[in-house]
Symmetry: C2
Subunit: 360 residues, 2 copies
């Protein structure tokens, strides 16, 4: 009976497809690029300490966390805004800037929420296809029109793991008018080790229309806590603050994230494990003759030459959950998170067994 | 430079004025209607247990919490939606239903976020003034036009503590067309003890256009955790789910709220203390000759015959933080949360001292 009452946006928004969670113990989840070592121990300690204050509303400005991030990143706290996950910063950017009918450039086969929040504020998504599974900045520059308001880039790119180099990004940005906002989603930036990976903190200082998004969900092991942040010019941040709900980030999220920032041992372990796991997976995938993308993130994109949904089910029977990329529009590819040494081995064994069975 | 780029909504939204937090120990905060006994102990235990899973994304549907609420309230889990505070449910309702230019009826001098979310989705707030500090349902019924889409009611009313009776609400609802959504904010419902307070759970079963909002912030002592919920028809809930960001409620919030629901000892203590504190405050305010409203909530609305901002500062000097209602458009009134016995006494002493000084 309410069909006529809802906004058009409600019908335009597609359901989000999450990674599957294990239904029984012993199953390895490599589907959501979560930290295989669990949450940051310093975050857990801070949460335990903060819990006694849970009857009190949180700081609506997340001041302590913003100050700590600003200090670490050599920015001002007024360049920083905290969200209930970096998802919320995307939503705030759309809520602040996107007028009905304005166009939003979005890479093909990417994180689905860019399109969701575009629809939520009646924007027009313009999908610019990938080129060899990489974001095609030349095509994106050509796609800019008078109606373009936002451009989403994802670096490293989810789900392919590919990167936009510093030179390519700089060149692209010269073609973006200053009245177009570029949102650089860097959810996986801490795992990138390429020398020509862009330093976007410098860009934030130079270009007021660049908004960098980062998260505590991956590197810091806090996906379940929902904390992300945006870095941009003070003017842009100031406007986004006006549409931010007052108590969007809860006390434990603020306290946990603040502590995780300083968790050097955990973060170093996370980083090193990821590089080692990446090398291992590349070697084993080569042996199996499977095509994959060199990744700058904590996951690997693999072409599987069969329906990914089918492979997903087969691997799950062997206790490994990966992400079939059907919901990303890539029905013959999977994304597998880089896990611990044991988890990676279990994945490769399951994959090899499945390949042998298919061949035999 | 971005002034031309932002949506009109950004300029329409007013800053939220929160209650002030104590800057030094020993100061009593009675400004935000938080639970004076701290967080629910069972919630704290559940949070401590759940923290080890914080590297894993939360359940995007908050299934366990919805099922527990449904069971307790004798509804179906598809009648329940969980938000990052009940604020978020208000926002989801506007995002789902409010089309540009549609009217939203809002009581005068009320919780400011009703108007904020109306602006966020380009709705037109129509403020219906209070009558003797109570919501004026007759005037509200008259204010309904062809363009009316949402009606916010707050019961008990924040900041006056007054209530809409079951009979008055039922009568009002007969005058609301079925294509208008009535949002009943019951943030304080658990403190209400009036026999004619409405049973809105029955209404949710009868009227598909009624959305009831409740929160874990007050009675359950979890304001810092950010959990609220909406109760409505399965159809309305289904549409709101479409615009809900996937991971809006974090793991600790889901686990803590679930446990708090069962914390009978804590909840009983909270309820009884509130009634006792209410009686005490009424008696003492009578002695001081101050006018106040009979409250159904965990706070008392007091007319102070002087600028509330001034009184707020004077009381703060004596270690008591109250809420001056200037930001509610009531510059000569304060709202004071009902605290523990000792906190209430400290407030009354501070108020009496200030009154004596003013007189002398």
């Amino acid at each position: 009976m309410f069909e006529q009452l809802i906004r058009q946006a409600v019908n335009n928004i597609k359901d989000y497809t999450p990674g599957k969670n294990p239904s029984q113990p012993g199953v390895v989840k490599l589907a959501s690029n979560e930290n295989p070592f669990g949450p940051s121990p310093l975050a857990l300690a801070a949460i335990a300490k903060e819990a006694k204050n849970l009857h009190i509303y949180p700081d609506q400005k997340s001041l302590a966390l913003r100050a700590a991030l600003a200090k670490q990143l050599n920015l001002h706290e007024d360049n920083v805004i905290i969200g209930n996950g970096s998802d919320e910063i995307m939503q705030l950017a759309a809520a602040t800037f996107l007028k009905p009918g304005e166009e939003v450039l979005i890479p093909g086969h990417t994180f689905s929420l860019y399109e969701t929040f575009t629809h939520l504020f009646d924007g027009q998504p313009v999908v610019v296809d990938l080129k060899d599974k990489e974001q095609d900045l030349a095509a994106m520059a050509k796609a800019i029109t008078q109606k373009t308001k936002l451009i989403f880039l994802c670096n490293p790119h989810n789900p392919t793991g590919t990167m936009i180099s510093a030179a390519n990004l700089a060149s692209f940005l010269t073609s973006v008018p200053e009245n177009v906002l570029v949102i650089l989603d860097e959810a996986y930036v801490e795992f990138a080790d390429a020398k020509d990976f862009p330093n976007t903190l410098a860009l934030v200082k130079e270009l007021p229309n660049v908004l960098v998004l980062r998260t505590f969900s991956k590197y810091f092991g806090l996906a379940g806590l929902r904390v992300g942040y945006g870095l941009s010019s003070t003017e842009l941040v100031k406007y986004m603050f006006r549409v931010k709900p007052p108590f969007n980030v809860n006390r434990l999220a603020q306290a946990g994230a603040l502590a995780a920032l300083e968790d050097k041992t955990f973060l170093e372990q996370t980083y090193k494990n990821n590089l080692k796991g990446r090398d291992y997976l590349f070697t084993e995938l080569d042996k199996l003759g499977l095509e994959y993308k060199k990744t700058q993130a904590n996951f690997v994109f693999i072409k599987v030459k069969q329906p990914a949904d089918e492979l997903f089910l087969q691997l799950m029977k062997q206790g490994v959950i990966v992400r079939p990329l059907t919901s990303f529009g890539l029905p013959e590819a999977i994304r597998v998170s880089i896990g611990t040494k044991e988890q990676n081995k279990k994945f490769i064994q399951a994959l090899a067994l499945q390949k042998a069975q298919a061949a035999g």
